[in-house]
């Protein structure tokens, strides 16, 4: 009988982790500066073992201080956005939900744009901290308006999120219309999602939120299954639904806030990765959450590698790649796998 067991989840997770490692290895061998693939990998492994030897100083810097941190960062963002998307789809019981649907991204964008306009983006973590702050404020405001009688109502939350998001978009338009040419380029790249202004220290901001957030959501994954067929249904099966909604809203929102604050608004990942994983592995969150995290990480690292190599030495915003590759791939899955009835 086909059911989800810990063994099945573990096996698939190990397989997907190996895939992720492979993607990271390929990613660090590619870039505008040619470092031979084998030497790149040798540099990586020797540094893990604490040895020094292979490659020149420049090559080591490129691999260890530029490409590897960037791949790790993209991995955290991809994992975070995918898990947040899966959670919002269940919480709001809406297949079109993505991590940005409740306005967190717009709040982060306003924070980021203000930082850019005030020149704070020249400080090393000025930009991500400002956008994280913007996202946090939005989470609190949406939460405040999305509740009635102390309870989260998914539809009210959705409306509050969408409306506050639109209001913030108006602010974004306003800031864009008054900004100077040089700032405009930075703003637009940030809005499209781009890792080129992030640095290794951004990993420190993002990883506690993403790791803890995913862990929290994973611990609730069995209950997220039950809420898919409605809150009353989950209550009948003994779930404390209000607590579940509160924890999943806050966890998914914080994961989203941390993710967008380091790289801007990378679209599509949070929508299509959970759906793709569902089409392949089924809707059970006990598998969906870890699988989405690992597939999302691999997908975003691969996309970012394309973004920085395809027109090298200049870089594309990674959001362009995620939409350009993710969209057609998802359509392909939809056509070949059984169709999600509600879409």
């Amino acid at each position: 009988m086909k059911i989800i067991t810990s063994k099945k989840v573990l096996t698939i997770s190990i397989f997907l982790s190996l895939l992720l490692i492979l993607v990271i290895l390929v990613s660090i061998t590619m870039g505008s500066v040619k470092v031979p693939p084998l030497r790149s990998i040798r540099i990586l492994f020797q540094s893990i073992l604490g040895l020094k030897g292979a490659g020149s100083e420049t090559e080591r810097t490129i691999i260890l201080s530029l490409r590897l941190p960037r791949a790790i960062l993209a991995g955290f963002v991809g994992a975070g956005l995918s898990v947040a998307g899966a959670t919002f789809q269940a919480l709001l019981r809406n297949p079109l939900a993505d991590p940005y649907i409740l306005g967190v991204s717009s709040g982060a964008a306003v924070g980021a744009i203000i930082a850019i306009l005030l020149g704070l983006s020249t400080f090393s973590l000025g930009l991500p901290l400002a956008s994280f702050l913007g996202a946090l404020l939005t989470i609190m405001v949406v939460f405040y308006f999305g509740r009635q009688d102390g309870k989260i109502h998914p539809n009210t939350l959705l409306l509050a999120g969408v409306i506050i998001g639109s209001f913030l978009s108006a602010l974004i338009m306003f800031f864009i219309s008054v900004s100077q040419k040089e700032e405009l380029h930075t703003i637009i790249f940030w809005l499209m999602g781009d890792f080129s202004f992030s640095n290794a220290r951004a990993i420190l901001i993002i990883f506690p939120y993403v790791l803890l957030g995913i862990l929290f959501l994973y611990l609730r994954s069995r209950h997220l299954n039950l809420i898919l067929s409605g809150e009353e249904n989950a209550v009948q099966l003994g779930v404390d639904v209000e607590r579940l909604k509160l924890v999943s809203y806050l966890s998914a929102s914080l994961v989203t806030a941390a993710s967008v604050s380091v790289c801007g608004l990378i679209g599509f990942v949070g929508l299509i990765i959970p759906h793709s994983v569902r089409l392949i592995f089924g809707p059970d969150h006990r598998l969906l959450i870890p699988a989405s995290a690992l597939v999302g990480a691999s997908f975003l690292i691969a996309s970012d590698t394309f973004a920085r190599t395809i027109l090298a030495p200049s870089e594309l915003p990674v959001g362009v790649i995620t939409a350009a590759f993710g969209g057609p791939f998802f359509i392909y899955l939809l056509r070949t796998r059984k169709v999600i009835k509600t879409l």
């Binding site: 009988m1 086909k2 059911i3 989800i4 067991t5 810990s6 789809q89 269940a90 019981r93 809406n94 297949p95 611990l219 994954s221 069995r222 209950h223 299954n225 039950l226 898919l228 067929s229 409605g230 009353e232 249904n233 209550v235 009948q236 099966l237 003994g238 779930v239 404390d240 569902r278 089924g282 809707p283 059970d284 006990r286 059984k338 999600i340 009835k341 509600t342």
Partner: protein
């Protein structure tokens, strides 16, 4: 088994249930009937503590329900509600296994024992042959049996049914109700069923509660509750009540208002 002590409930301003008291005995098959908006569904929701009444209290084996944890209630009371819409379809087996949720606590995965219990429930409801099928590919009657199997997997003492025969043809209505009656007679499960179909309630229930505007209008055996006078008073339309010639239970015939 269950004591409902003068409960009143309102969503907003107006009371939906007012001063409702009754007792449900262990192993009883109780029917709740009444017109639209008389409070049937609300009463069921209060019985599994989805809603808690502003006044009065409900005791489950003498323990106030509001002092019980969600999962404790889930171990003792199972609900088969009206059609639920599933966002992403699970398989039949996965749905039935969800009935084990109240027993799992912080565990993430079901054990072999849980799987055994789910299989037995599926055998009982005759859905084992299509255990791997996604639930949205089943017919209405099959889907109802999946939810009964899920309720059985909860190993409850009480099953609450909300309009269980709505959307089922007569063949599936009888199949479904026979299944429920079997659970009631053979396993001693207490059944509380809210229904619009008074003929079905009359045939299957030991006792009926007739609600009108959130109050109990009449409570008793089907013969005591389903009388021409009671039904016409509560529903405000003319009916004819006689006896089902086979079972001898009260039977309602509807009368049209325009005469030929």
């Amino acid at each position: 088994m269950i004591d409902v002590n003068s409960i009143s409930f309102r969503y907003h301003e107006d009371w939906v249930l007012q001063d409702v008291s009754f007792r449900v005995e262990k192993g009883e098959f109780l029917g709740v009937i009444g017109p639209n908006g008389s409070g049937k569904t609300t009463l069921l929701k209060i019985l599994y503590h989805l809603l808690s009444p502003q006044r009065g209290e409900i005791l489950l084996e003498l323990v106030p329900m509001k002092k019980m944890s969600r999962s404790d209630i889930g171990k003792r009371i199972a609900v088969v509600a009206q059609e639920t819409h599933l966002l992403f379809p699970f398989s039949v087996l996965e749905m039935v296994l969800m009935g084990r949720s109240p027993y799992l606590g912080h565990l993430m995965f079901e054990s072999e024992k849980d799987l055994e219990i789910a299989k037995k429930a599926m055998e009982w409801t005759k859905i084992l042959p299509f255990s791997e099928r996604p639930i949205d590919e089943l017919s209405g009657g099959e889907r109802k049996r999946v939810f009964i199997a899920r309720a059985l997997a909860q190993e409850p003492e009480v099953i609450l049914l909300d309009e269980p025969t709505a959307n089922l043809d007569i063949h599936h209505q009888i199949d479904f109700l026979d299944l429920i009656l079997n659970l009631n007679r053979e396993r001693g499960l207490t059944i509380i069923m809210a229904s619009h179909d008074m003929n079905i309630a009359s045939e299957f229930c030991d006792r009926l509660i007739l609600l009108q505007g959130g109050r109990i209008y009449k409570m008793g055996t089907p013969e005591e509750v389903i009388t021409k006078e009671n039904i016409e008073r509560v529903y405000g339309c003319e009916v004819w009540v006689d006896q089902n010639p086979i079972s001898g239970m009260p039977r309602i015939s509807l009368l049209k208002k325009v005469s030929d």
